[in-house]
Amino acid sequence: MAEKTFIEKIQEIDPKILYAILIISLLIPYVRPLGIPIPIGAETRSYWNYIANMPEGSVVAMQLASDPSTIPQTRSAHQITMLKLFQQNCKIVFFTLRDDAPPLHEEMMQWVEAHLPSSKKLAYGVDYVNLGFLADTEATIAAIVADLKGFVEEDAYGNSLSSQPMMANVNSGEDFDLIVWNDGSRGIYMFALRQWQEKLGTPLLIIASTINKPGIMNYLQSGQVAGAAFGTEGGAQIESISGYIGDSTKATEPGSLSALVLTIVLLISNTIYLVKRFQTPTNVKGGNVK
């Protein structure tokens, strides 16, 4: 019987012990890096191929809906995409559907400017414009697609949009060659899919937190989404393809180790559950064990 009380103890473990296990497994790689190689997923590969093959002068829409909690996962993919597109002389229209994203855009812009070759200087209004925050409804995307300049008259800094040189030929959704949609954890990629990609057939690339991966996989398989980078892993893959190794690659290590530890913990708790269940065959109703 002593054994059984032990099993029960493990089943009703104080959550604080679990939290401590989690924290410790997260901290170990900071003290001693593991150096795990990063395999490249098919969806990230097609994402990058799309970016790398954008012809010079293409007009790209980049939406940022990450917030301070999700930006560590999506920052790498997002800013390396910006950098790559600028290097290929593409023109970008930035906007965000999250009110707390604009400062994050400015931070990434600084990173991009610091990493561009010294021969290339970006000019506002010529290489890019920033529309800033727009209300996060499906109607916003529909309005941009229908008549961008009629919907937003001024950019984030109060300049008239029609006076910007690169906007001369950009009036509506049809004038864009690519949409890069950073979804964060919002799950609002349906706005772009339904109002923009579906209506005009403009190719759509998605950067998103892992939480949205299962949903987006369906649209990748059906070809409605052309490529995607998911979470820290996606960011690390982009870093390793592009050669800008940084935060995401570093962050996969604590993620990896904690996943390994938690998987083992969950396997143990499930094994104990099964053992206990087969010891008490009366409880066949699939109900509670208590």
């Binding site: 604080k16 939290y19 989690l22 997260l26 901290l27 900071y30 909690s69 999700t70 930006i71 560590p72 996962q73 009110d99 707390d100 604009p102 529309l131 800033g132 925050f133 727009l134 209300a135 409804t137 499906e138 109607a139 529909a142 919907f151 937003v152 008259e153 001024e154 950019d155 984030a156 109060g158 954890s185 349906m190 899919l193 339904r194 109002q195 990609q197 579906e198 209506k199 937190s209 892992t210 939480i211 949205n212 991966k213 299962p214 369906n218 398989q221 059906s222 070809g223 409605q224 979470g231 820290t232 935060d247 570093k250 962050a251 604590p254 993620g255 904690s258 996943a259 938690l262």
Partner: protein, 228 residues
């Protein structure tokens, strides 16, 4: 280091640890953080919304699009829900929001969520590698059986549909399993983002100091006599 530099580090580090302290126990430090979050996010949003309305409604209504003045009035009408006698007025702007929302969703759903999804199932079953044929069979069988699971009338209720929808439920379970795994990964990655912040070289000493203080407070609190 100036006082501003120190504040720039110590405030975010402390707030991060205050919030994380909830994992140990419910405590006043967490409550302070939680209330500050509600207040600051409300204040931040208000400023950003004002900016959005300036770009899209205010400027246009004074530069050649007087019609947009109506949108401002409709927007203001939303606030009538705080006045008992005029509360019905807020239904008009709501009607515009609901009407456009529903219209747009319907437009998009037919193509993106129905016809495109039907044709996405037209997959080759006799060509390609064995693995890809097997996968295609599973996608076709799985999506059709899981759709069958959502048939609710008696008309489609017989022993064949029951066994098909049972298979559908199994596929749905695999889907939710994938979703569970992704949610776990996502949540842990969010936490890693915060730990990354705490162990930044310039923050590390402050992080350790604040963590020790907060832990001492949390543990000590349990040993202090409690007020009734």
């Amino acid at each position: 280091m100036s006082i501003v530099d120190i504040l720039t580090i110590i405030i975010p580090v402390s707030f991060t640890i205050f919030i994380l302290s909830l994992a140990y126990d419910d405590n006043p430090l967490y409550e302070i953080g939680a209330y500050l979050l509600i207040g600051s996010s409300a204040g931040w949003s208000a400023i950003q919304i004002i900016d959005f309305l300036r770009k899209s409604a205010w400027t246009p209504s004074f530069t050649g699009k007087p019609l947009y003045f109506v949108s401002l009035l409709l927007g203001l009408a939303l606030f009538t829900r705080y006045f008992k006698n005029y509360r019905w007025l807020y239904r008009y702007p709501m009607a515009v929001v609901i009407g456009t929302g529903v219209g747009l969703a319907v437009n998009g759903a037919i193509g993106a969520q129905i016809t495109k999804q039907i044709s996405a199932n037209f997959l080759p079953l006799t060509t390609g590698s064995a693995m890809s044929m097997f996968s295609n069979v599973l996608i076709i069988v799985g999506s059709m059986s899981s759709l069958t699971y959502f048939l609710f009338t008696d008309r489609f209720n017989n022993k064949y549909s029951q066994s098909v929808s049972k298979i559908g439920r199994y596929f749905l379970m695999a889907t939710f399993g994938a979703s569970f795994g992704s949610v776990m990964t996502f949540r842990i990655e969010t936490l890693i983002g915060r730990i990354d912040f705490l162990v930044l070289p310039e923050n590390l000493n402050y992080s350790i100091a604040v963590t020790v203080l907060v832990l001492a407070y949390l543990i000590g609190r349990n040993y202090l006599p409690k007020k009734q």
